[in-house]
């Protein structure tokens, strides 16, 4: 590890190739398990336990199984989409105003508000879920979308506010000032100048929030017990499969691929932006 630490740059063959080898190691480390998921999904159910690196006859039977019959996986995907989508949209609407305020206005308790927002994201999910679960039972919200959406705001909102704040803070204040010289009110300056210019930042925040909401498990697991409302994550974890083997790993892997591939594609397409968003503006 330390061997590849910052080092003088004279280029012996080892020095030159070591970083490249390191890169290869990292790539393999990150992708090998993922690769294994994909190839396992592509085997025939009958060679499920073969450990060959490449599936001998390719088969999409596992994918057919996933969507077939009583799994309710398709419905689960839709539910995930509804929950994660709503969380993202709500979060952006609420969070954008707050982030802009934090980035631009000077007021007395700004540090306190910032600290509160960041602190809320540290709370363990389970201590929020248990009382909410009891409340939702009382008000008959169990097995509803809002029972999953509302608690998800607890982690999505701080995340979005924090990301957006740093994006807004990067934008020069002269932008609004110019707009106001031209006769905009502050609200108009925000709507007509800042929002369009902040679009990349907002978009990045949307992706990151969406992925976070899409990956959520504990809330979705606790607040539902009916298959027709459960998200894809919960459904996968409770797969019984169609063929009645003990654990239908083939279809689970296929389902995992289906759930993951859209995210992976999004990540590959927008990697620059996501990295910038994750490291939130300041360092780049």
């Amino acid at each position: 590890m330390a061997a590849v630490a910052p080092q003088p740059a004279e280029a012996g063959p080892i020095r030159r190739w070591a970083p490249l080898a390191g890169v290869a190691v990292i790539v393999i480390y990150c992708l090998a398990p993922f690769y294994w998921m994909v190839v396992s999904a592509l085997r025939r159910p009958s060679d499920q336990f073969s450990n060959k690196i490449i599936p001998a006859p390719f088969s999409i039977q596992n994918f057919k199984d996933v969507f077939a019959g009583s799994n309710g996986f398709g419905r689960g995907l839709l539910n995930s989409l509804i929950v994660a989508g709503t969380v993202t949209i709500l979060t952006l609407i609420i969070g954008m105003v707050a982030a802009y305020t934090l980035a631009r206005l000077d007021f007395k308790f700004k540090n306190v508000v910032l600290a509160i927002i960041i602190t809320t994201s540290m709370f363990p999910g389970i201590s929020l879920v248990i009382p909410l679960l009891k409340l939702f039972i009382d008000i008959k919200w169990i097995n509803t979308y809002q029972a999953m959406i509302v608690p998800s705001l607890s982690f999505a909102l701080p995340l979005a506010v924090w990301n957006l704040t740093s994006f807004f803070r990067q934008m020069p204040q002269e932008l609004e000032q110019a707009a106001m010289v031209d006769g905009c009110t502050p609200a108009q300056a925000f709507r007509k100048v800042i929002i369009p210019l902040a679009a990349p930042g907002v978009f990045t925040t949307a992706i990151i929030t969406f992925i976070a909401a899409w990956n959520e498990f504990l809330i979705a697991l606790s607040m539902t017990n009916k298959k027709s409302i459960q998200t894809a994550n919960v459904i996968i974890s409770q797969f019984t499969g169609t063929t009645g083997r003990d654990q239908p790993f083939g279809s689970q892997m296929a389902a995992g691929v289906v759930v993951t591939i859209p995210l992976v594609i999004a990540v590959l397409l927008f990697q620059r932006r996501i990295v910038a968003g994750l490291t939130a503006g300041g360092v780049k």
Partner: protein, 355 residues
């Protein structure tokens, strides 16, 4: 740090001495309150309210009981601190301390491993000029995979006749009680989050100007010295915050052991799983007590971390306050300006592991 406008006095407390030209956003406390209220309201509803009602809930027990006169009492009864006392007694006490130990063990081992691996990855990526795009893309893959899916994936890898056993040429029953199931959780967690720490540290590394290293080289510093005296101190702010959030994330770990190994396994049961299990069996009082204990544990660790190591969580946001947007224009152009950027990684890490 970007050079901000000449330091202005804190706006509120004392009457202003230097009257600067009125900006549109001055004296806007009420406007700020108005604009922040939706966010604070939502957070109050979904975070503050549950925490308080968990506290309240933990003082009650539900279900049927006989009262002093032999009548059946239904619904919640106030039991004071009994739920908490029960936590530490007898069988439940054993289960609690086991979960407490597991939670702490996972947190310490995972975070140490992830930090070491993450820093190593960041250093490699920083050195490599070829293949950086590929690395960045592949490093995001474990991050993007939902924890549940990665848990199932590792469960599949750790099958009795799975690929892990074939690779090590042994027959380990990974999902059985014992060190092996702990190890499987640690491996899976490290796989998913170490690259992520690497990404954040890399961002920190890239802000260190090359001149600093050149100066060290001129002074004849060794590789190791350069690393410990220059690299580490300069990435420390970003690293500390990343580590803090990883710690908090691992303390509440739930999905990974729950799906990878399963509920009711002593070897991997964490506090979150224990609380969930109680709630699942409609024992809300004890569940709330466990959740509250976990909450206090997390709060203490976070507080200690911030106090002792001085992780500056709201970092740049605070530093920027007096200057307002003054330095904005400059920063807009000078993206590579070096900044003490503790806050940068925060939002991201908060959701890194997705516990």
């Amino acid at each position: 740090m970007t050079v901000t406008a000449p330091v202005a006095e804190r706006p509120a407390k004392e009457p202003k001495q230097s009257k600067r030209p009125q900006r549109f956003n001055e004296g806007t406390g009420r406007l700020a309150a108005l604009l922040l209220s939706p966010t604070l309201l939502v957070l109050g509803l979904v975070v503050l309210f549950p925490i308080i009602s968990a506290l309240r809930e933990s003082l009650f027990t539900s279900g049927t009981k006989l009262d002093a006169n032999g009548f059946i009492v239904k619904g919640s009864t106030f039991v004071g601190l009994d739920n908490y006392l029960d936590i530490f007694k007898g069988d439940t006490g054993h289960r609690f301390w086991n979960a407490f130990y597991n939670t702490t063990f996972f947190t310490v081992v995972c975070v140490v491993l992830e930090t070491v691996l993450g820093v190593a990855m960041a250093l490699i990526m920083h050195k490599a000029f070829k293949g950086r795009g590929i690395v960045r893309a592949s490093i995001l893959v474990p991050w993007a995979i939902p924890t549940v899916v990665s848990a199932l994936l590792w469960k599949w890898i750790f099958q009795a006749d799975g690929v892990a056993n074939q690779l090590i040429g042994a027959q380990v029953l990974w999902s059985t009680e014992g060190w092996q199931s702990k190890l499987s959780v640690i491996i899976a967690d490290t796989w998913k989050t170490a690259p992520f720490i690497g990404l954040l540290v890399l961002a920190g590394l890239q802000t260190i100007p090359a001149e600093v290293y050149e100066a060290a080289k001129v002074d004849g510093a060794s590789v190791w010295k350069t690393f410990t005296r220059i690299t580490l101190p300069l990435v420390k702010p970003a690293l500390l915050v990343a580590v803090l959030f990883r710690i908090l994330d691992t303390l509440r770990i739930f999905d990974l052991p729950f799906v990878l190994v399963g509920p009711h396994k002593d070897s991997v049961e964490t506090l979150s799983m224990l609380a969930y299990d109680q709630a699942f069996n409609t024992r809300y009082g004890p569940a709330a007590a466990y959740a509250t204990v976990l909450f206090i544990y997390v709060a203490v660790v976070a507080y200690a971390f911030v106090r002792i190591l001085g992780a500056d969580v709201i970092g740049e946001a605070r530093a920027k306050k007096p200057g307002g947007g003054g330095g904005g224009g400059k920063r807009w152009k000078k993206k590579n300006a070096v900044k003490g950027s503790a806050d940068t990684s925060v939002g991201a890490v908060a959701m890194g592991g997705g516990a």
